[in-house]
Subunit: 197 residues, 2 copies
């Protein structure tokens, strides 16, 4: 019912996960109302991201260069590797400003039900890097797939690089979290991982 | 913190009204995960919409041609004009399959507080079209600005084309609406606009 060019754009927006019919219509109409220069910039930005953006050949993080700025930074501790599911997690951690080591992006989590197997993840490179590292911090999500992946990597590293220290980020009450609002799993984790004050 | 090309795309998504920082990040990352061909299609679709899409010179609806398919359809009743705020409203009405007249898209609503004045709306063309019409159905939203615009158009048409019938779409309980959940304005409208059974 929409003009063909608009219909096409609505379909393109719909390909983004989580964007439904109504939202895609709203976004496409918003594009029609943009300045021509802003829309052209948008169109170019999509092209650029597909042509320029690549993954760092060391850590697998998204980068415009072959080596990402974090791996290229000599002031960071390259012996400490923080293992995450995706590039978004790198950003989340960098925003804390608390971490001075480097990262390793798995590009997914093991999930037998979705058919995601060890060979689908960026694991070979992790084993290579672990040989030179002091500590590998596994920071996959606290979900079923995240825990499975963490356990798998722990076993894999214990077999291949028995000297490296493998740690897991802490699970417990979130900052500002109320005890009586926390779910049982979180409380159970908080109890198990308690530390001396 | 994101690579420059990705950061740029995030900023472009943020220009869409209602898209916040997190959502823009999610959308931009989804684009990085698209097939290169799908992303190229997306980029082209944005360009196309800005180059091909125009407004119908008769009704102001969005169209790929100078005259939109509705205005060009000889089987429709061109003496009955349904006046709406935006192109989205045309689609909403067309989806009902109940209306066989034509449309007039105002491209906005009068809103003194936002500085939107009669000269900002597609009103001159409406007055011209009204001279040849039998009925003008005012279907602006049931909001303050929608009612103000409806009243303004009614007065304008009574002055310029006193012979044309000017009507307003009905306001009342929505389909499936429960009386005790309806707000007072809706109930008041439903009472005022009651009809004989």
């Amino acid at each position: 019912m929409y003009p063909q060019s608009l219909q096409k754009l609505i379909e393109c927006f719909r390909r983004i996960p989580g964007v439904g019919e109504k939202t895609a219509e709203r976004y496409a109409l918003a594009v029609t109302e943009m300045d021509p220069s802003a829309a052209l910039e948008f169109s170019r930005a999509i092209e650029e991201v597909k042509t320029r953006l690549t993954t760092c050949h060391i850590c697998g993080n998204l980068s415009d260069e072959e080596t990402c700025p974090i791996c290229a930074d000599p002031d960071r501790n390259h012996k400490m590797i923080f293992v995450v599911q995706s590039a978004r997690d790198v950003i989340a951690m960098e925003k804390t400003g608390q971490y001075r080591g480097v990262y390793h992006v798995l590009n997914g989590l093991l999930s037998p039900s979705k058919g995601i197997m060890p060979e689908d993840l960026n694991l070979d490179r992790l084993v290579e890097r672990a040989a030179d590292a002091q500590e590998i911090i596994i920071a996959t999500n606290a979900t079923m797939d995240g825990e499975t992946t963490a356990m798998y990597i722990d076993r894999l590293l214990k077999e291949t690089c028995p000297d490296v220290l493998v740690t897991r980020i802490a699970h417990g009450l979130p900052a500002g979290g109320l005890l009586d609002y926390a779910d049982e799993m979180t409380l159970a984790h908080a109890l198990t991982d308690r530390r001396q004050m």
